[in-house]
Amino acid sequence: METLFLPLVNGLTWAMMVFLVASGLSLVFGVLKILNFAHGGFFMLGVYLTYTFIRNHALSPLKFFLIVFLCGIILAIIGAILERLIIRRFYQLDEAYMLIATYALLLVIEGSVEGIWGLQFLALPSPKGLGGGTEIFNTIIPSYSLVIIAAGVAVAVLLNLLINRSPAGKIIRAAAGDPDMTSALGINVPIIYTMIFAFGIFLAAIGGGIGAPNQAITPTMASSFIIQAFGVVVVGGLGNIGGAFLAAIILGLVDSFGTIYLPQIPGIAFYAAMALILLVKPHGLFESSISTK
């Protein structure tokens, strides 16, 4: 029991970390039809910005999450401006050029982070009281893992409510399904796009902030997270947030247990599982998108 429980928690922690990135990625793709490499960059900016405010202080959980939220808002505003200035030009591009353009943006963010914060490893302390371990089923697990899992589940539930149950969700689904029709109905689609993009950035940034105490902070974390998030989003079906949630859990558990049973090749289980799933279902496990849900 104990031998299975810890990898289960580790797998779920990883899954929820990646889902925090993947949720915004999937939402933005579902509505704007942009697969955004730079999303990982904003996740990383969330981490670094939170780090800058907190440094090595162990804050109370309330203060900590307030700062994370604030960083999310700041980056969302930057994201909105960026969407207006640059991202908007991507919409008309050919698929391939669009991918390359967002990748270029990721490089710019990476380069900027290197320039501002340097190449060295940084670490952020956990909020007070959340740094230790908790005993469940005779197994000591890191308390902060539970925070991350809870955050992932909360984001999944709230996003589901927002998109499927709220009036705003109706507009989002309409804009995702048929932007021309939506705009003919008198809804300002470009503003919806800006808001969705900013909201996606917000999700990435708070994901980064929440996950920061659990990570080694380096400028390369953006690319390693974005590729895992891509994997999750693609396996879950592009634009399908619920699918991304399930895919994150599946791949997280495969990776976590794969590392235990095949210790000589850690890290390969994730990609192998992803390749295998996509070999059987080339367009992901759940093909439906936001608009058809």
Binding site: A96, Y97, I100, Y103, L107, G111, L278
Partner: protein
Amino acid sequence: MFRQLITKNFILLRLATAAIIIVLALSLPLWANPGITFRASLVLIYILFAASFNQLFNYTGLISFGQAAYFATGAYVAALYVKSGASLSGGIILAVIAGGLVAAFLGYISLRASGIYFAILTLALGQIVYQVIFKWPATGGENGLADIPRGTINLGLAQISLASPVSYYYLILICVSLGLFILWAVTHSNFGRILMSIKQNHVRASFLGINVRLYQLISFAIAGSIAGLAGAVYGPLTGVLMPEMATWIYSTTPILLTLMGGANFFWGPATGAVIFGIFEYLTRAMTGMSSLIMGLLLLTVVLAFPGGILGLVTSWLIGKPSIKKSSRNEGSAAASKLMPGGDVINE
């Protein structure tokens, strides 16, 4: 007046340019210092690497984010072979085969999907190659391979030593020219025309009885083996191989070079590699800024002049667009409004 003169003698101009480039490439080690010869060797390798990407991008309509995996496969296979004491010629042949086989295998999986899914799959599968190199003791794992000898080339009768930078430069020149010739032949052949048709409208192509996926797979394998060839000569040049060269981050180098030079031209990747090589040489004092500069460059190219350097030059020389850009999502007004390439410069 000057422009008219150029337009009239366009073929002559191209021949003259080609002649100058050939003379420069052949004579370079004779007048350049060893540092520049080394950089030129690297540029040659990047020319081939980028051209292998463009074989897929412009001539087949596939975007691969995993080209570095095949480059690394070739590099490691050749390096391990040479380190075992065998000649480099055998290593190069093995590298070409290995690059092609790995690409064929991973391409087969990726090609089950299309569009963005395909791109992400090439990326993820390339990462598997990286993970294998990184974890496998035989490849030196995370430490990579060092002290890779250049060895000799076995010509049956004579053994030629490649130890000197100059002789190694010429070996690279020969390999790169050969690789470029193969790519040129493929893209300009009847086979290449079918690939072009698939790029321009794959639905129509399959309704002309063309087995679209098979053609794409063959093209993918060819691009993989050419990337393997470029990788094969890379290891002995630098003497060191690191597993990171297989990651998707390195797969974007050929993308940048191709777009910068002009993806719609066969010589676009080469132009991009040369210009970037010179640019890198001039800014060699500035370190640590590379990803910022790469990103800004790439962004500028994609948004401001998607036709690349050759696109700008030809539109200036001829005064009209010579760039062709297919529209995969034909009929979509949004997509054709700002197709990278021709239509923008057209107006």
